[in-house]
Symmetry: none
Subunit: 210 residues, 4 copies
Amino acid sequence: MSPVSQPRKRRKEARPSELTAAALGLFVERGFAATRLEDIAARAGVSKGTLYLYFDSKEALFKAVIQEGVVPVIAENEAIAARHSGSSFDLLEKLLENWWQKIGQTDFAGIPKLMIAEARNFPEVAQFYYENVIRRAHALIGSALERGMASGEFRRMDVATTIDVIIAPILMLLIWRFSMACCQNHEGDSQLYLQIHMDLLRQGLRASQV
Amino acid sequence: MSPVSQPRKRRKEARPSELTAAALGLFVERGFAATRLEDIAARAGVSKGTLYLYFDSKEALFKAVIQEGVVPVIAENEAIAARHSGSSFDLLEKLLENWWQKIGQTDFAGIPKLMIAEARNFPEVAQFYYENVIRRAHALIGSALERGMASGEFRRMDVATTIDVIIAPILMLLIWRFSMACCQNHEGDSQLYLQIHMDLLRQGLRASQV
Amino acid sequence: MSPVSQPRKRRKEARPSELTAAALGLFVERGFAATRLEDIAARAGVSKGTLYLYFDSKEALFKAVIQEGVVPVIAENEAIAARHSGSSFDLLEKLLENWWQKIGQTDFAGIPKLMIAEARNFPEVAQFYYENVIRRAHALIGSALERGMASGEFRRMDVATTIDVIIAPILMLLIWRFSMACCQNHEGDSQLYLQIHMDLLRQGLRASQV
Amino acid sequence: MSPVSQPRKRRKEARPSELTAAALGLFVERGFAATRLEDIAARAGVSKGTLYLYFDSKEALFKAVIQEGVVPVIAENEAIAARHSGSSFDLLEKLLENWWQKIGQTDFAGIPKLMIAEARNFPEVAQFYYENVIRRAHALIGSALERGMASGEFRRMDVATTIDVIIAPILMLLIWRFSMACCQNHEGDSQLYLQIHMDLLRQGLRASQV
DNA sequence: AATGAATGAGGCTTCATTCAT
DNA sequence: AATGAATGAAGCCTCATTCAT
């Protein structure tokens, strides 16, 4: 209860996320199989055995990494959509902006690459991620598109597939950053990339003015 | 000299690509580190040791897989672009069509996912892939965009970044197929997906009609 | 802090030499290449993996075996020579006696056979052994011979080559013990062997009395 | 029967010894276990499979190497001893001279090192070598010593052990050449070495005058 | 007789996991 | 709670041996 004991306690409670953070970094960098628990422990500043105090196995650690990666940004965006009143395209931009703040510019940005690389090795985890992130994100975009079509702002389209096409460049931005980006000698400008994506969509989705 | 002696020789020459084909399949499915050479050998119908008659190591096999994945479809597309005379958007569609035939519907479709998952573990291979595939593909799209801007068909844009945005959904189509696709209960319709992508682009790239 | 915690630590420190001892025995018996790490581990009462906690590789273990085999007997003999005051032949006998006590009758006796069998496969190790053992031993014998020649006790001779001839039977005694000795049905009497060697030398080195 | 067919036939008959010669060289250089049959085949200028036309296994090849190494020099020396009429020391010198010509300066010189290194792995081969080479060589030296003692030329001695001491430097000369010799920067002078050995023996074996 | 492609047992090495401290 | 020494299963790779040509 003394102030001295606080850092210790906070430390203890913070441990799991310190460990998953270290694990996420290495899993993204090298892949699940090629990452050694010893390296994760070293990066987190603990010993190998300590990992087993918090996670039953390497696989359990992986699951925790992904589950922790499902941050409440989806819920946030659902709330944003719920109270949005402007144009549908504005909504899409707001959602993207929030995603960019909460995911794209944080360590969680590595999750998509990791999940894609390991989906087939961990089908249940992939399923979990799909249900809790992808499906909800799709629904979110989908309702924005439906809303825009209903109002006449967007042209008619196959919504389900259009969602995939819209999301693809956004995911790819992150995937690229954690894979081939090192091969490019020029820095990619994420802001510009996202802006161009939205520019294309603004015009591409618009109901043709006759 | 006799035709009888051929099968042996033909086998010898055909082996490497039989092996890389098997390896590609498993690398895409499980990742490089999680794939056992024994499984690759089994899939190719040979023994473990046989792999070493053709490749020095697992890593060398990986390199061969990627290098063999650089099929001449790029050159083909360069030729298509060179002799194209219609609208620039038509050119983009032709290039996509050929890519879909030669890559998207073949075993090579797995290469992008594999390369993305392993890029950081094999920087030289990634560099090779970048130089020989990505850079040339970018140049190809880029010249089509420039051509369309020059003719007034396309609106003005930051070409370099727009290329990335345009390519992203195409790459993502393949990446998805070899990763999260298994989580979806509905079949993805690739044709529809590509068509929608092109629809969005057709309208999105068009110079605004006053 | 408690004495109870000691055994673990003591073990940790004692391990390397337990392992090299086991390795020496098997390397001498079967040769480096024909010895399996698993057998070394078994002889030392540990598991295969434990070896790698202390040595990076089989080759590193070999090096350690040799380096540990360079016991300070040479230094001891150098000290003996430095303070010797009797006849030069007496000195040779003292050196031999000490060598016999500290090397010939211990596990280190196997080193010469091992080193000879593997010298060409491990040139750097051989070089190390040569510099730290052989060269110093030669210098030691050499100075005894010079001393004896100077005093008139020994006849004139080509010292460098004579050293080799003198050492040969001593090395051979050990080499034989770890190789062909098993083919003989009679026990070799090392004491007698060494005594006869010295007898031949006593008379063979003596300056002719005219 | 045509002259043209001769080289072929000679070739065929010569094969086994070409193969054992290549094998001896590599066995001596690297040891039995560390030598690959492929390298032996390559050195002999044949393919790996060809070895199995002449030898059942790697071990059989090793046996053949040793057996072929038991050249009739022993028989020769036995004949020399039988017809010798001069001093006993002269006989020892003659035997050594012949050995030096027929073994010491030929490829067979590597046999002792090889046999010593592998004796414990191939006890039957070692036994064979012991019976057919070592025992007979010992008997030869032994009878010369007995002869010299009987005539009063040599002093009294334990013959069996003295033989070992006498032979040791001779064996060591060869063993050294194929092991540690590479560590010395100066060339060893074998002639001088053998001469010094005999000088020591001449004086060392002599019956004390007076 | 000769080849060399193919095999698969076996060894070195790694690393997830356990457990005594 | 934390450590890190120890384990042993498993994978990469080698190479003696076989066999179709």
